[in-house]
């Protein structure tokens, strides 16, 4: 269908629009899970800190 990679990237003159669409879509679909993962790690970090704090409290009061 495509005679050369150059033709594929040119998209018949519509390169800006086609790749602008697919590009932003890929960006969103990649960044969103990363952001969610960061959120998950943040809460796990907080929970770990709380556990450490409790442990220190327990050891301190012994």
């Amino acid at each position: 269908m495509w005679n050369s990679p150059a033709e594929f990237f040119a998209m018949g003159g519509y390169a800006l629009y086609v790749w602008g669409s697919f590009g932003v879509c890929a960006l969103v679909l990649l960044l969103e899970p990363l952001v969610v993962r960061a959120r998950f790690k943040a809460i796990v970090h907080i929970l770990k800190q709380e556990k450490l704090a409790e442990q220190f409290d327990r050891e301190g009061s012994q």
Binding site: Y14, L16, Y17, S21, F40, V44
Partner: protein, 258 residues
């Protein structure tokens, strides 16, 4: 003996569903399901992209530019579908007073909002070469914009109420009111202006486009669907941890082991 076994089996299945509605049992199940949906998303996505770029022929009128349809239409479908699912979870949380259903609604809202955004973005990029302007006030795009506002309103309302249970219930009411209004809004916007090409994919009449294009769109739609479930489950796990932070089962989790 047989009957006893049967009723025991069905009883345990009944119990299983409601057990799943507790955050502590759902959390590990979700964790195991997430990779499955990522694999499905990747599979559907790769085949969909293959068809979009290497199988579907050039359009007679719109040239190569029409290929945007393979993202635009799936994103639109998903944005509307996710709103329905989100409202359904919100409704369940109101009826059964379950926290997890509300958390699912909360987890799905951003995904749906991004889908609406992608639909608008790709719509603009499709419209510019085809109709000459970045934005056209036609029924579909305008309704999509309003849907984005509905998503943002839902998220804003939940974010601004400190009491989680009140936020859940208020959000649920808003989502249900929204879901009832979406058809009304869509109908009124369509009444107001019909520029967009008529729905070329419908369940009742034959599609007005090549079979390959249809397949491309359906596969990409499935890809977005699997993606939405995967990201939704990821987010709901984070939300569960945030909201159930002071329960015993969270403290015992292996992730939190120091």
């Amino acid at each position: 003996m047989n009957q006893e076994n049967n009723s025991a089996f069905s009883n345990s299945r009944l119990i299983n569903w409601f057990k799943l509605s507790s955050p502590s049992t759902f959390y590990p199940v979700a964790g195991k399901l997430i990779p499955v949906f990522w694999v499905l998303a990747a599979g559907f996505g790769l085949t969909g992209l293959w068809i979009s770029f290497f199988v579907a022929p050039v359009d007679a009128v719109q040239g190569q530019g029409y290929r945007i349809i393979f993202i635009h239409v799936p994103a639109s479908w998903m944005s509307m579908f996710i709103y329905l699912v989100m409202a359904a979870w919100a409704g369940l949380s109101l009826i059964f007073n379950t926290r997890l259903s509300a958390m699912m609604a909360q987890a799905l809202a951003p995904v749906g909002a991004w889908m609406a955004f992608l639909s608008l973005w790709t719509g603009a990029l499709w419209g510019k070469p085809m109709w000459g302007t970045w934005w056209v006030w036609d029924a579909r795009l305008t309704s999509e914009l309003i849907l984005l506002f509905l998503y943002l309103g839902f998220m804003a309302l939940q974010a601004s109420i400190d009491n989680r249970r009140r936020a859940d219930k208020a959000g649920a009411i808003l989502a249900l009111v929204g879901v009832v209004n979406v058809p009304i809004i869509y109908f009124s916007v369509k009444w107001w202006n019909t520029l967009h090409q008529g729905a070329s994919v419908s369940l009742t009449k034959a599609p007005a486009m090549a079979q390959t294009m249809l397949w491309g769109m359906l596969l990409m739609a499935l890809c977005f669907w699997m993606y939405s479930i995967a990201v939704g489950l990821m987010r709901v796990r984070a939300i569960i941890l945030e909201r159930e932070a002071h329960t015993d089962w969270v403290r015992q989790l292996s992730e939190v082991k120091i």
